[in-house]
Amino acid sequence: MDFIGVLAVDAVAFGRTVTGLITRPYETYRRIIKHGKAGELVFVAAAMVLYFSLASLVKIASFRPFLLTQQFALLFWAATSGVLLSVGCIYVASKLLRVKTAFVTILLAWSYTLIPTILWFLTTSLLYLILPPPRTTSVLGVMFSLLFLIFSATLLWWKVTLCYLTLRFSLKLDLVKSVVVALLCAPVLAWWTIYMYRWGVFKVPFL
């Protein structure tokens, strides 16, 4: 099969997986771990590139190619460092718990947890353009706030579920051990979050 053919197959697999994450997350994660291919990561990366291109435009707010490229590169590498750090932490924690797993398996499973993250950041950027903050305490302001927070919390529950399924299927852990892995990873990710905030890259962590 030529390159385009392989890409098309991976695109279909990616589409099926994303649909599955919405309707049947449990079964879909089982399939990702058993039959997922590294080629699908290209499409997660493409979604990130799409979002960071838009975010760079919104943040720079002018068409200046050097600044836009600089902002894009900063966001992309910062996000990539976050993903690699998360996966690395889970991998090290799995070794501490003496669980046999491959780095690529965790990377593939974790990459799909970025779908809710990308969706939230993309929607927030668009809303920033349409209805820029700050929100007022008027009835409309409060109503918008309630809807926005409900939307954010819904995506957060989805994200938490996908993170748990990543640990459950890629490491074959039970709930207690999954919590232990999360607790082991939390300080490292908190450190990353604080530095990203201090450097002005992400105020809300892109994890």
Partner: protein, 76 residues
Amino acid sequence: MSDTTYQKFVKRWEEVTDIPPQTLGPLTGVYKQITKRLKVMPWPWFVAASIGFVLALYVLVGSTITILTSLLQGGF
């Protein structure tokens, strides 16, 4: 049982038994009840939990909730 059905059953059985069943002592029943609802189309539960959470937050902090929204909106 035909060979094809049996092969499908074996394949499915191997998939299901690939990870050990979850046990949480006396909380196992509660865990199963919650996860049962999250395995297929979990959105109604996600939205319901979010509405409950946000309304509780609104009751607690009132219109100060708009500050949180402003922070999150500028947080991308």
